[in-house]
Symmetry: C2
Subunit: 263 residues, 2 copies
Amino acid sequence: MRVGYVQFEPRFGEVKRNIGRAIEMMGSERADLWVLPELFSTGYLFVSREELMGLAEPVPEGPTTQALLDFSRKANATVVAGLAERAGDKVYNAAVIVGPAGLIGRYRKIHLFGKEKLWFDPGDLPLEPMDLGGVKIGVMICFDHFFPETARTLALRGAQILCHPANLVLPGMGQLSMRVRAMENRVFAVTANRIGGEARGGEELRFTGESQIVAPEGAVLLRASPEGEEVGVVEIDPEKALDKRVTRYNDLFADRRPEFYGA
Amino acid sequence: MRVGYVQFEPRFGEVKRNIGRAIEMMGSERADLWVLPELFSTGYLFVSREELMGLAEPVPEGPTTQALLDFSRKANATVVAGLAERAGDKVYNAAVIVGPAGLIGRYRKIHLFGKEKLWFDPGDLPLEPMDLGGVKIGVMICFDHFFPETARTLALRGAQILCHPANLVLPGMGQLSMRVRAMENRVFAVTANRIGGEARGGEELRFTGESQIVAPEGAVLLRASPEGEEVGVVEIDPEKALDKRVTRYNDLFADRRPEFYGA
């Protein structure tokens, strides 16, 4: 199974251009599963709920999901992509999971970061892995990585590959944390981070790139540069993520002792 | 508050010598809180339950705890030290926490690694922070780091400093993981790892050193070499670990969403 990330620089508000650029980049290599950054089609730094509502889209009717469905069908690939989802009067920092046969599912970020709390509604869907014909993926968005419970919950429920659309701003921290998320859960992890910067509403952010693909033992299989637009694809065997043994005597899931855990 | 690690090479079975060496090293610098490696007074690679039972000690009556109590009183310091604890017909990979006024508490490793499962009983005490006169510490031993629930439980219950006696064998992995444990819980973390090797019972292990002290934001404040006997001491402000904010909008504990977590 070939899994990949698209690392690029969305331009704020230029939805059509951003979709085109992401699809162009995915077209440059062959992968079975692509991960795109968080909010890849809109950009990140909204300055009001109204602005966000104006750019957010219903799923699957909106142009972003429709374009990805079209790509997915033609390329025979699954795509996990971060986007702003409008649902009635709610709006989510979400991800869609689309495959050749249609929309597979959606995820809505449960741990909002910084000013996202001002504009977005908190995620309201369970952390449930999605089945891609025998391989289960788990979706989490950016800051979700900071909470070990996110990856743990997805992995305990069967996720073999963590798909992690991101707009990481703290250099190296998300990348470090996702290595440990892979290691402690014995799963693969694909982080698609964006690059470049945004300066809007009196705030300025630089995004840190270094998208990466990590193996279940924590090794970084591939890592992008901090500043370039790049796709990266690695061939993995997702079956490996079903084996939680770290020594002859230790299985990371069987060894858990939940009776000792808790607040 | 000055916190430190002792990184040294215990000699298997030479309990008196190992105690003396550790106390000599602690005597070379001033600290308020010392962390010693896992099983520091016995060594690691037991070949039978009988051998382990012969070297394990009751707490606090045994020579290791008694010597540490004596040091602690004289140095006016708290010591967290890994040792083999015998309790009736049970034996634990344990840690004692001793202060100038006496035994503060004990911890028994809940996640046993490799052949430890053949010789030791699994820990049966709750993950409960211990109060050092206003500063709370949490104790976890070596492989416990692999399970995010260990540090999480201690931190949610108030631990400001994770004290982590270790005999780490996978190069860099425990050190990486403990940075993330500090970061995700916004606490300090002191890992005291041993160095050198043991070859017993047809098995050979090399221990990886690189003891470290990590700050709540994940920065490594101090790290020892992979192979030298060293003490390392850093002045920290444990109050910092009470503040779980990572942005103006985000508090790592308040932002948790337990209703979404679980197996």
